[in-house]
């Protein structure tokens, strides 16, 4: 099973531990076997252990250690944010965040909606069953 996502300059990764948990960052340089220099538009460039990063499919075209302006321009050109939010991984995270931020009232309304939907589905199923039985 060959690897598909490589650590390379320009690889977009998701931080999975620490203060920047959940943010997308770009690998801007490799320091040594364990650490990378990592940068994001709203973050001070810093080093991170590879264990704290989860690689994504997205890669942008930059040279080693670009200036912040160049980095931001390259991210806009590649539309990292858009691609991320369309990808199934990104969509899942958005849904998780939405669910976690639900209010008690929202959870109640959600429950009502689920019951309603299940009722409609069950009605249709009953109709279909009657048709095949007949």
């Amino acid at each position: 099973m060959p690897f598909k996502r490589y650590v390379e300059i320009g690889r977009v990764a998701l931080v999975n531990y620490g203060k920047e948990y959940g943010q997308l960052v770009v690998i801007v340089d490799v320091i040594d076997q364990n650490r990378a220099l990592v940068d994001a538009p709203d973050m001070v460039r810093s080093q991170m252990n590879f264990k704290r990063l989860s690689l994504t499919d997205i890669k942008i075209d930059i040279k080693r250690v670009p200036k912040k302006k160049t980095l931001i321009a390259a991210m806009e050109a590649a539309d990292v944010k858009g691609k991320w939010e369309k990808s199934s991984w990104g969509r899942k995270l958005i849904v998780q965040r939405r669910r976690a931020s639900l209010n008690d009232f929202d959870r109640f309304k959600l429950m009502l909606a689920k019951i309603k939907k299940a009722g409609v589905v069950r009605q249709e199923l009953a109709k279909l069953k009657k048709e095949t039985a007949a």
Binding site: L102, N103, D104, F108, K109, L112
Partner: protein, 234 residues
């Protein structure tokens, strides 16, 4: 308006060295103009009239009776308690979840905080059976759902309203013992029922505006599988 021009205060009697000032006592008397004040007042310093000395109570007759032991009098304490600090998340109209007592799990509307610190709360009664009631802040979860409570008038409720009715005890004979038990349970006086209706009428109108809110208040809160209270947003 421009502030008053203030030159920094210059001391009349500067300190030369620690402990030694420039002018002597009599020099300072002259500098401060105390001679002029005296002259203005006719040779004396002006002073307030002393308050009439509290007339000593007429010497109490020495009492023949002394208590057996010296009883210490407790020190007087004039501290007044402030009502409990209300959590920032609880504002008039907030929906609260009651956690203890016979109404545990009920979602209820907060009206106001009473002077004792307890929260005044109502179901509304028609929706979930919770009457106008007092509840302690500590046994309540505040949700972030707010109801418009501007039309509701809760002024007639205070801590005295909720005090227990003291009934005169009647001596019962043995024969009356069994009958009397039936009379003990008195129903709520009509005025209290009317107060409830008055508060709830205005509140119900406000609740109509939000869809599903009435059903929400009628349902009880419970923890289901997978719900982690420390991660829930209320």
């Amino acid at each position: 308006m421009a502030p008053k021009q203030r030159t920094s205060r210059v001391t009349r009697n500067p300190e030369l060295i620690r402990g030694v000032r420039k002018h002597s006592r009599s020099q300072m008397y002259h500098k401060r103009g105390l001679w002029a004040i005296k002259a203005k007042n006719g040779g004396k310093f002006p002073h307030h009239e002393k308050k009439a000395a509290v007339a000593e109570a007429v010497a109490e007759k020495v009492s023949k009776f002394y208590p057996a032991d010296d009883v210490k009098k407790p020190l007087s304490n004039t501290r007044k308690h402030k009502p409990t600090k209300l959590r920032a998340s609880i504002t008039p109209g907030t929906v609260l979840i009651i956690l203890t007592g016979r109404f545990k799990g009920k979602r209820v509307v907060f009206l106001m905080q009473l002077s004792s610190g307890l929260l005044l709360v109502t179901g509304p009664f028609k929706i979930n059976g919770v009457p106008v009631r007092r509840v302690n802040q500590a046994y309540v979860i505040a949700t972030s759902t707010k109801v418009d409570i501007s039309e509701v008038n809760a002024d007639k409720f205070d801590d005295k309203y909720f005090a227990k009715q003291v009934e005169k005890k009647k001596k019962k004979g043995e024969s009356e013992f069994f009958e009397a038990e039936k009379e003990d349970k008195s129903s709520l006086p009509v005025e209290k029922k009317d107060d409830q209706k008055a508060v709830d009428a205005a509140l119900l109108k406000a609740l109509e505006g939000v869809p599903d809110l009435k059903a929400y208040l009628g349902a009880r809160f419970s923890l289901k599988s997978g719900m982690k209270p420390h991660e829930l947003v209320f």
